[in-house]
């Protein structure tokens, strides 16, 4: 049984599973069950230095830039509706390949076209983020966001970060209004 974190909680991945190098970060939510425009949620990853910012646009991994230059972070593609079991979107991370200057990788989910569709995270049910050992398929830790959101349109679900020689995972659950653009602003990506 995998560990479940509350908002703000963290776990040492290195200690929990010393052999861990390749992980899958799975993100999920329920498909809309009522009528109206569907929720199109997009997962993204931001590779951040100690300053909490990206080095450049190449550190923003999202549906139009699926893989980091060094190959350490790879987005497996967009799932438009949230249909299907398990993860709706997944990002693969090879911890051994993450450049030393990257201290943190933030995983975010944003609602596409939220303003026009009058949507926010308060209308999305059962959102979660989980870390799976890619080699064994074992779930190591998960965070069910459940209620830790409301009218936000962009959320940091969780983050991987270095702590001394370890990799740790933190359940963040921090929301922003303003969608993906707000998220990019936060992490230093300039949107044209």
């Amino acid at each position: 049984m995998a560990l479940s974190l509350q908002k703000g909680g963290n776990l040492s991945l290195s200690k929990t599973d010393p052999s861990l190098t390749k992980i899958i970060v799975g993100l999920g939510w329920d498909e809309r069950s009522t009528d109206g425009s569907g929720f199109d949620l997009d997962a993204s990853a931001f590779l951040l230095t100690a300053s909490g910012k990206v080095r450049g646009d190449a550190d923003f991994i999202f549906y139009n830039q699926l893989k980091s230059v060094d190959g350490s972070v790879e987005h497996t593609g967009d799932n438009r509706s949230g249909q299907g079991d398990g993860d709706d979107e997944a990002v693969k991370v090879d911890l051994s390949k993450v450049p030393a200057e990257i201290q943190k990788i933030a995983f975010t989910v944003t609602i596409h076209d939220a303003e026009a569709r009058k949507q926010n995270f308060g209308q999305v049910a059962n959102a979660f983020i989980r870390i799976v050992n890619e080699q064994t398929g074992t779930e190591i830790v998960r965070y069910d966001l459940a209620e830790d959101y409301s009218t936000e349109t962009a959320m940091v679900f969780g983050e991987l970060y270095r702590h001394n020689a370890e990799w740790k995972f933190r359940a963040v659950g921090q929301g922003y209004s303003g969608g993906l653009k707000a998220m990019c602003d936060q992490f230093g990506i300039m949107i044209g």
Binding site: R32, T34, D35, K118, Q119, N120, G122, Q123, E147, T151
Partner: protein, 414 residues
Amino acid sequence: MSSVSLVAGANAPVPKEALTIEVLLNPQQLSGVEVDISAFLLTASGKVRGDDDMVFYGQPRPGNGAVALKTSSAGRAEFEVNLTTLPSTIEKIAFTATIYENRQTFGAFQALTVTVKNAAQQAVIDSNLPANGMKESALILGELYLRQGQWKYRAVGQGFAGGLKPLAEHFGIEVSDPAPSPAVTPKAAPAPVPQPAPVPKPISLTKITLDKSKPTVSLDKKPEGFGEIKINLNWNRDNAGQPAPKKSGGLLGGLFGGSRSGGIDLDVGCLYELQNGTVSAIQALGNRFGSFNHDPYIELQGDDRTGAITEGEWLRINGKHWTHFKRILIYAFIYEGVPNWAQTDGVVTIYVPNEAPLEIRLTEGSSSLGMCATVLLENINGALKVNREVRYFRGHQDMDKAYHWGLRWTSGSK
């Protein structure tokens, strides 16, 4: 005290006490549009336990009355929600608005407002949902829900374009299709336009519950008699208190479909009195099963002690011979097990052909006595009068005495 304003998707905590939920439409009335405001009591799975978990115009105070539709007028409704008496398996209450027969969408309205008031009648939350552009004809306005021990209210403002049916199904209520409507007015017919005849509401929740506020129903005399009158006694056999998984077949199918794990054996029986003065009883105890086609025209359908029959016990009365009866007292009694009517959750349902089923719950006014005189059927000049009794007695003898039946009782076993 100022209230918190919520937009759709937002939530805020509410005190765990007796709340009032007020729903207001703006404008309050639109010509030709009838809006029904309802509430659904939902378990952790987001579904109802049975059709008793729907609070609406036809059933304003079901179950233990923890959620009740207090007032309902054009464009305005008020619910009383007592969070302290709500059954513990209920973790969410959804408040909905539906447009009768999908004649409009909520886009025709400007806004729908929900106000949550605390026990002191002070507004603690208000949500104003702009309706402009809405394509839905059934809306979840908002929901009270339990989150880590705290009750909260969330403004929702989502729904269905297909009206009440998909909404009810969303909450796990099975909806029968409405009976075909009567003759359609020919399109070519010129003015004057005939007034549309009142049509039954499209959901087959027309079952009538006899309770303290409405204990009696009288069915008019029919020349051909009443056909096969079926009386069902059912109860909750699942002592763990977990709702049984929903099964197909009827609105109450899932509610009572649980496995029979408890030690409670509930029996149905009746005392009858014929016009000629004959008095007797039909019940499994003492093997008095009667007969449907011959005198006394009442038959008990085998006793269910094995748990093989999950639909409870049936008593059939041959209504073709209704004139031959004077009165019939239906009772339920606990043959084995400790009387705990509230937990047993017994329900007696009377099915008369072509009439809405009549339901009498044995939970109200529960007692530690083992015998419950449930319902009295009386022949009033050929009409069938059904009166809810729900009076508790120690046993057959006390009940007999109270109703002046005049039978002599000895102890027996089955």
